[in-house]
Amino acid sequence: MSRRLDRSLVDWLWPLAVFGLLAVVPAIGLSIPKVFDQPVDSPGTLALLASCLLFGALALTYDLQFGYTGLLSFGHTLYIALGAYLTNIAITEWHWQFWQAVLVAMAASFALANVLGFVSMRVAGIAFAMVTLAFAQAGSVLALKDPHHWTHGEEGLGADYTKLPHAFVGIVNTKNLYWLALAFLAGVFFVVRWAVESSPGRVWQAIRENEARVEVLGLPPRAYKLQAFVLSSTLAAAGGVVYMLLFNGTTLSLTQPNFTLTLLLMVVIGGAGSRWGAVLGGILYTYLNNRLTAIGSSSAVNGLPHALKVPLSQPLFLLGAIFILMVIFLPGGLVGLARRGSPSTMRRLRAAVGGGAAAEAS
């Protein structure tokens, strides 16, 4: 009994300790040369860190359906974009209050996820992936063509900052945005953990392993898959709101299929079906994408011969190549690599990543 208690306490303490450490980052005036151009508490670095944390959270919402339930969707960004665009349009074009806008955007995303999820689950597997892609593409076309002059097509829509909560406006408040992104990450983390350890969550994971067996047990797989899909999509829409605040508006790239594909890359690089894996993948990917762009245009790379310079100036080429190598040689991602370490490392890591992860590893 006491071991059980210890275990659940550890399960809470670990993430809280990590998030707590991250929370004090803006208070540290540390300079880490090479890793960050500016001191850690400068707005530039904090903005980069905030987007890393946000993408960690978005990757985790994707992992909920891909890694835990086995649903390969290519349309996840539809809900992120809906959350971001609808909130932005409501405050900027319709002059609503911020909280009204957020509530309506969340409700709309929830409803849309139910409808489209229901339709796309008429098919499974690869066909499901194609159908979700098609729906997301329809959303992207809608945002591009902009029939009502709401999204402003390729220009994107800058948010009306007078309607935003004042704590999140302006460069001096970058640290608040950092804390917002961190709070969102922590929120998604605990919601996902609660969900996958609940009894429907166990059915999701059973569906991932063997859908036919779940059906034989008398449980309707489609209803359970729809649950996971709707929860993941609604969390993603909330992430879209944070995205809108972080980037002061919405741009077309948010709606495009490549956005979902990069989330997929993050989850697989970090380790699908693992909370820390998805978060780590999202953070690392975002950081590398940002830093490689800077390195690619730096003088050190410009001095290189042409054949080396070209690939190095394209972060997506490098990240895509890393991703392919990882899929072939390192299934399980970075977390899988750690788990395959020595038995003692594995035990410590299991303790570190909590009971849920230990159950998956076995």
């Binding site: 339709v119 008429r122 690869i126 098609a134 329809a138 076309v141 029939p147 997929l264 890359l265 895509g320």
Partner: protein
Amino acid sequence: MSTFVLLTLTGFGLAAMYFLIASGLSLIYGLMGVLNFAHGAFITVGAYGTWWSSVHVFDGVHSDLWRWLASSAVGLICGGIFAALVELLLIRPLYSRHIEQVLVTVGLQLAFVALVTGVWGPDPQTFVVPAWLHETTDVGGALIPNDRWVEIATAAAVLGLLQLFLRKTRYGLIIRAGVENRAMVQALGIDVRKAFTLVFAIGGIAAAVAGVLGGVYFNSIQPDQGTSLLIFAFIVVVIGGLGSIGGSAVAACLVGLVQQYTNYYASSGIGDMVVVLLLGVVLLARPRGLAGAVVGARA
């Protein structure tokens, strides 16, 4: 009336490209269960192979027609070889792990477009085509751009050749049998893996044809041109029924025409939405696509 004729022929021209992409996707999926995102890269290889050889190899050829045909041939060969290499090097090591195979093709598509952008820049490129392709023909008062005829004729020829290949040759027989029941074909002692490389090469060539024709249809080529064509080709494949060439052809015409008509008669962009709606309706009514009942596609 003349507008209607123009829209119809333009719709078929677009359908031709959708079909060229979808036929390869559908065969690959039907036989191997792989959703090939890298098909967009095959389109890019075909288009850039044609452009590169047109500028660097055949720049001394005076006849625009021969220059275009010769450089297109290089583009198609590049597309076929690239596709076969992708199958051998990236797909084969992940045999029967379908999700991982999809992931690899996704990574390849992203990395490849980035590489092409890095090497030749994001700007559109144009290659030399015979001047008459950009002239028009009068059909009952409608001025039809000549490239539409070439697109439609090429797609029809590819459809005919594919059907001939699938119905009259031994490899075609293996592929058709493999689409229906791969395990049984293997149990009969036939090495299906050779057929895998073959369908990838065929799909790569067909996609490269679409890349070349896309360069004519859109007047230019861009690194990520394949991606947007690919999404509509996915829709065509699902509507047509996975694994069916005939289904793909019918669905491609349906999608191309619906898109053109609604984009013109309703408003620009609505056509794309209606196509997605069409996909939803087909899925609700016939989850296996139009030809699904015939091939018993593994959905």
